[in-house]
Symmetry: C2
Subunit: 418 residues, 2 copies
Amino acid sequence: MTTAPPSHTELAARAAALDAEAPLADTRGRFLLPENVVYLDGNSLGPLPAAVPPVLDDVLHRQWGTDLIASWNTHAWWEAPVRVGDTVGRIVGAAPGQTLVGDSTSVQLYNALGAAAALRPGRPLLVTDPDHFPTDRYLTDSVAARTGLEVRRVRPADLHGLLAAEGDRVAVVGYSPVDYRTGELHDIAALTGAAHEAGALVLWDLCHAAGAMPVRLDALGVDFAVGCGYKFLNGGPGAPAFLYVAERHHEHWSPALTGWTGHADPFGLHDTYTPAPGIARGRIGTPPMLSLLCLEAALTVFDDLDLEQVRARSLSLTGFLLRCAGTLLDGLGFEPVTPADPERRGSQVSLRHPHAYGLVRALAARGIVGDMRAPDLLRFGVNALYLSHADVLRAVTCLREIVTTGAYDAAPERGAVT
Amino acid sequence: MTTAPPSHTELAARAAALDAEAPLADTRGRFLLPENVVYLDGNSLGPLPAAVPPVLDDVLHRQWGTDLIASWNTHAWWEAPVRVGDTVGRIVGAAPGQTLVGDSTSVQLYNALGAAAALRPGRPLLVTDPDHFPTDRYLTDSVAARTGLEVRRVRPADLHGLLAAEGDRVAVVGYSPVDYRTGELHDIAALTGAAHEAGALVLWDLCHAAGAMPVRLDALGVDFAVGCGYKFLNGGPGAPAFLYVAERHHEHWSPALTGWTGHADPFGLHDTYTPAPGIARGRIGTPPMLSLLCLEAALTVFDDLDLEQVRARSLSLTGFLLRCAGTLLDGLGFEPVTPADPERRGSQVSLRHPHAYGLVRALAARGIVGDMRAPDLLRFGVNALYLSHADVLRAVTCLREIVTTGAYDAAPERGAVT
C-alpha cells in the first residue's frame, strides 16, 4: 500500500466506524465466501449460502435417491413453485398467492408480457426502456411481432411525455427499477402511477432489485413483475426466476405457455387446457427441482431480515464506495455514472473508464471480484449482507494501485455474464 | 409367498436364466437405488446415478462457492447447454450441433412447434395425437390459437387417412413414439416418411424413448424433437429438457422465445435480437446450472452403452413381465394394454384394472414402485439398466398376492406425476 494517499487513513477510520455501527454485520456468516475475496459481483451471481449444501445433500440422497417418485408428494416437491414463490413474495412486498417460481426470467417475461398486453385490448403499444437489459427488449420485440403490437423504446425519464402524447394507446409499460449498467434507480411508484393514470399496465423486471431493497408490489399496485433468483437472492447459477401477478388480474390473465402443470387438474389428463386458478396457471412444465430447492434454501438467509435495514446498509456501502472513488481515484480517468443521490441509486456502483476490461481482470487477480459491461463500465455490485465498508475501501485502494502502477492489460475486450 | 402358483417355480428358473445371459447385468451399480426396492417408475423419475453426488458437491463448493462468477468461463458453464445437448444427441442419434439442453419439455415444445409451423407457411394444420401427453396437446392448441392455425387430433394409426385427404394442408405432425399410458410404440420411420411425403414437418416428443431405445433422428430425417431429462435419462427431478433441430433447418428456424442467451453476440448487449447460428438460437434465459450439471453427470451412465443392447434387454424384461402377468394374474381382473408384439412395445408395461390406484399403493408399501394413470391403468416403467427379470417376477408375484388377499384399498382416486 505504498502509494496510498494521506486520505486513506481517514477513510479507513470511517470504514471502521461505519462497520461498527452497521446492524447487519453478522450476516456474512450466512455465506460460504472464500477467504480474502471481496465479492462485488453478487448482482451477477450471488454467493453460496451456508444453508444450501445440507439441503441439497438431503434432496439428493434422502428425497430423490431414497424416496424416489414419492417425493413429489411426501417432500412437497409439487407445491414448491408456489411455496417458494410466496417466500419471494415476502421479499418483494407481495401477499401470498401472487408469486410463482420457475423457468427463467426470459420465459417469465414472454408469458407475462403477452398476458398483460391481452388485458388491454385495443391498445397497440408496448413501452420498454432503450437501456433495458437486452432480454427484456428482445422479448418485447418478439411478443409485439407475434401479436401485431408496436414497441416504443422510451426512457423512464421520458415516459410522461409519451403518455401525454399517446397514453391511451399504451397497453403495457415494462421497466426495471435499476439500470443494470449504471445502477440508476427509477421510481417504481411514480412510473407505475403514471402508467395507471393512462390506463396502461406495468410489468417490472426486478432482477436487480429483489433482495437488495424493499419492493412494495402490492402497496404500489403493480400489475406484473418478474425477476431472477440468482443475483441478490443468491439462489445459485441460473436459479429459477419468479413471476408476480396481482390478484386482481388472476381471473383473466392468460399465459401463452399452457404447460400441463398450470392446468386446473393436472393429473386428470384432460383433453383441453383449463387454467388453474390464480398464480398457479403460470406454471409451465416440470420445474428443475434441484435448482428450485437450492433457491428455497438460499432464501432462508432473508427469514429474519428487515429489507429497510438491508437497503440502509446498501446505501451506506455504495455511498462510501462513491466517496472512496472520489477521493482515491480522482484524476485517474474514472467517471462515476451511478447517481450520488441515494434515492436514485440501486445497489451497485458503476465507474466509466476506457480500460474497464483490463482493470476488472487485474482486480480479480487480486481477489476483488467485480465485472464490466461493454464497452467501458466497471460494475461493482454491493450486497449489504456480506460486504463491509472495509471491503469497499480495500477494493478502491486496490483499483488505485492498479491504475497508478499500470498493472493491467489495456487491450479492449468483451465482458462477462449478467 | 404361500399363495404362489406352481408355475412360479418355472418362472423363477426362467428369470434366473435370462438374468444370467443379460449383457447389461452390471449396470445396476451405476445407480444409488435403495435396497429391496423394485423401481418400476423410472419412466416418471429415473433414480439417482452414482456419478451425480460427487459432481454436485464440486459444483456447489469449488465452482459456485469458490470460483463464483468466474465459473461461467473457467468451468465452462456457458457452453453447458450445447455441450450437454451433444451428449443427449449421441443417445438419440443426432450428430453434434443439433441438440440443446435447457428449460422444460413444455417450453421446448412451444418454441419448436411455433418455429416448425413457420417453416411451412400456407399450411394451416397442426396434427397431434388425441392420446398425446396433455402438455403436448395444450401447447399445440396454444400455438394454433396464437398463430391462426387449426389443430387436427389424429391417432398415428389414422395419419395416412388424414394425409391422403388433406396432406397438402398439414404444416407439422407432432407425435410421441411411445404412448405414455399404454406403452404402445409407434413407428417413427414410417410416420416421419408419410409426413414428409405430404410436405409436412415432424416434431417428435421423445420423453418416453430417449435413453430407453435407439432413436435415429438424423438417419430418419426427423425435423424437430424434444424430450425430458428426468425419465430414462435419469437426470434428476425436473431435469432440463432437450431440443433437436435438424441442421437443414438451422438457417431459417425462428423460435418465439428470443432470450438473450440465444443471441449471436450475447455479451455485445445489442439493441435488437440477432439469432445465434445453429441450435444455439434455441437458448433462452440463463439455464438452471445445478439441474443442468446434474443431468450431465447422470448421462455418463450411457458413455459406454450400446442402445441396441439396452433395447434388447428392455424387450426381454417387458416380454417377461407380460408373460408373468399372463401366468400369475390370469383371471384376476387384469387386462394388459401394452402390445405383445415387441416391435410395437415401448419400455413399459401397462395393465388395466378397476382398482389400479389401490393396487399401486399397496405395491409401493411392499417396495414395488410403479405408478398409475387415471382412471384404471397400472403402469410399470422398465429400465433395463437396473432392473432384473427376478425383479419383474417379484413385482408380479407381489401384485398377485395383493389381489388374491384383497390387501388393497378399493376406493378410486387420482394418480401421480408423469
